[in-house]
């Protein structure tokens, strides 16, 4: 069994343990499937493989745990989807994903207090989205959980804006991590 890691451009190259399988005008990047249960460390190692591939060109990460029998099956899995996948590769080219989660900084207040915080969180989200090429809200327990597709050149500006917003809103905790491969922008919406 092999696990699909990411979809790259037609000329995407890979170093062992990653294998590059060309198909339908894209490259399926895959590796030998792990045996048994995976730990958090295993997931970080998998992530490191994907991020190394990201250094060479645009990349669409594949949902965790997508296994196929062999390289022929890997090629068949994307056959017919080349045009759609190349369009998504263009969408994420030169950009990375930054995660932003916004939570109340203090004790939970009453409903009116929460509504005020939610409005502030949404305003902060809009300010960050203005810097991003694309943004998407994700489900989560926070006031607001979002992913932003940010051009590499704009990353410093984005992080600077996060710091400014955090400074301006001590009642919010703004949690920003990244850069990540464009997991949240890999599928057309």
């Amino acid at each position: 069994m092999i696990e699909l890691l990411a979809i790259g451009e037609p000329d995407a190259a890979a170093e062992p343990p990653v294998r590059a399988v060309p198909s339908d005008g894209v490259t399926v990047l895959c590796a030998e499937a792990p045996e048994g249960e995976r730990t958090a460390d295993d997931l970080w190692r998998r992530e490191a493989l994907v991020e190394r591939l990201l250094e060479t060109g645009p990349l669409l990460p594949v949902r965790l745990g997508t296994f196929v029998a062999d390289e022929d099956a890997a090629a068949a899995a994307v056959a017919g989807r080349g045009a759609e996948l190349r369009e998504r590769l263009e969408h994420v080219r030169g950009a990375v994903e930054l995660s932003v989660r916004i939570q109340p900084a203090g004790e939970p207040g009453d409903l009116r207090a929460r509504a005020t915080l939610l409005a502030a969180a949404e305003a902060a989200h809009e300010a960050l989205a203005a810097i991003a090429r694309d943004s998407v809200e994700r489900p989560g327990p926070e006031l607001l959980r979002a992913a932003h597709l940010v051009e590499r050149d704009a990353m410093d500006r984005f992080v600077g804006r996060v710091r400014e917003l955090q400074h301006a809103h001590p009642d919010l905790a703004i949690l920003c991590t990244g850069p990540w491969p464009a997991y949240s922008f890999a599928e057309a919406r």
């Binding site: 958090a40 669409l60 745990g65 997508t66 899995a77 990353m155 996060v162 991590t177 949240s184």
Partner: protein, 62 residues
Amino acid sequence: MSSTSLANPERDIALVDLLDRLLGGGVVIAGDITLSVADVDLVHVSLRALVSSVEKALPKHE
């Protein structure tokens, strides 16, 4: 982001974001989807992130 560049609290915070992306993001491709993740207590990790502050978690990019 690389886990090796992160101290432990930051790594736990980022693990929430990693899992969110691995499980809810990425291209969905026909295949034999198998999820087998051990020793990752999602609830515990989420609660930890909720009490963390922004200064611990700002990205360490190059």
